[in-house]
């Protein structure tokens, strides 16, 4: 009897915990990626700074339907507290990142081990409003998640801004400083004919503008 009570209690507690941290699918609206999304990766080298950019961000943002109607977000529990969180996973195909120079693209794909790991992936774990939400619906969030680059996953905490755009769409804007070596990537050091060996800097910044909508 006592054992059954313990099992019942544990089971109930677990179910309760799961219920408050995961939004039920039928309680959410799914906002999927839309064209117009952009991602940039900025870096340095011994000869010049560089930027690669892409226009493909695949994924979806699942949140309570009130997110679309309540600009203040006060009724969107998953964004106001840590008790529940939206569901979000995005994927950036590494082949979509372009520098404008074929040789540099080849070096980058090799460094990112693109033959085995075809995408940079971010999985959201927590997203909470930070500060006040503007009357226009513009807001900032403290975001925590896991970032996977070249097969290595690291925690990634960043501030993400939200803008409401036309057509019921939403734009998430953010950036994050990273080190290549944190993801097991040795900064490339290619040799180009007619030039000294190039040394790439370890520090990079990923910037994104992710457009989502129904």
């Amino acid at each position: 009897m006592k054992l059954n009570l313990i099992h019942w209690t544990l089971g109930t507690a677990t179910a309760f915990a799961l219920a408050v941290n995961t939004l039920a699918a039928d309680d959410t609206v799914r906002l999927s990626s839309k064209p117009g999304s952009k991602v940039f990766m900025d870096g340095t080298s011994s000869i010049h700074d560089w930027t690669v950019e892409g226009a493909i961000i695949s994924g979806a943002f699942e949140v309570e339907p009130e997110f679309l109607t309540d600009l203040s977000l006060k009724s969107v529990k998953s964004l106001m507290t840590k008790e529940a969180n939206p569901k979000c996973e995005i994927s950036i195909p590494v082949r979509s990142l372009k520098s404008g120079k074929q040789k540099m693209d080849e070096i980058m794909l090799d460094a990112l081990k693109s033959s085995e790991h075809k995408a940079i992936v971010f999985k959201l774990k927590e997203m909470v409003v930070k500060g006040d939400v503007a009357a226009s619906g513009a807001a900032k969030f403290d975001v925590k998640g896991d970032l996977t680059v070249a097969g290595t996953t690291k925690p990634c905490d960043m501030e993400v801004a939200l803008e409401r755009v036309a057509g019921g769409r939403v734009k998430f804007i953010g950036s994050q400083k990273l080190k290549m070596t944190d993801f097991g990537i040795a900064p490339p050091s290619p040799e180009i004919p007619g030039m000294d060996r190039i040394k790439t800097g370890d520090d990079i910044t990923i910037r994104f503008e992710w457009l989502v909508g129904k």
Binding site: S32, K34, P35, I56, S58, S96, K98, Q102, P193, G194
Partner: protein, 277 residues
Amino acid sequence: MVNLVKFIRTGVMGTPLKGSAQFHKKMSWRIASATPEREKVLNWRLDNATSGGLIAELGVHQLDLANWFLNGLPTEAMGIGALTYYKDQRDVFDNVQALLRYPNGMHYSYTATIGNSFDGDLAMFFGTDCAIMVRERRAWMFKEADAPLLGWEVYAKKDAFYKESGISLRAGASKQDAQKAGADAEVVDPISSLQYALESFLINSHNLAVGVAEFAEAYGEGTDDDLREFLKEQEKNRQPAASWLDGYQATVAALQANRAVVTDQRLELPPDLFTLG
């Protein structure tokens, strides 16, 4: 050639003035065959009804280069020609020269003969600061005495051309070890223009296919306008390669130059001649 165009686009030539190209090779251009009927078909190049003449059949590549280097399209064509040597019932001229006017005061002359081989084929581009010579897969720069110093020409390898000294335009030629005894002075790019073109075509085709597939996977059906906008953005990542429009424009320029030579007329070449649709 792509690197040479990039070099020219830096403004190293100063104000562009003119260009010229020649094709000299002694050959009959006639293909022998067992029957008169088959020979007529095989030798379509010797008949004005089916041939673009030396200018179009041999010079279209040089004219494509001219459009690219001079960064424009010709506005006028004129020329002269004659059947001087191969009197074998052909009517296509064996000795021609065309002159094309380009915007901003530039002009371009193309001369071709199949009666003499001296000096082979070459292209020249002249500007107020230097002239650039292109032969096969090599190029040289001949600087004017009052041209601004670039800084690296002191260390560059130079080749003598009669009374002129040409700076060899090739990667690595400025390094000290290129000057050492034993350095191969005759190294040319082992990759031909055709191979570069095929590589660019394959890379561009692959990137286009991958881009469209990734767009569809990320954004679903989307709209045609969205896809069009995406592909337009991707054009800046395209490998240098002549597009269908480049080919069309070079062909139009070549055929009009030939028409000017054959009819002995000065022809206006309006911009809409070089567009389709």
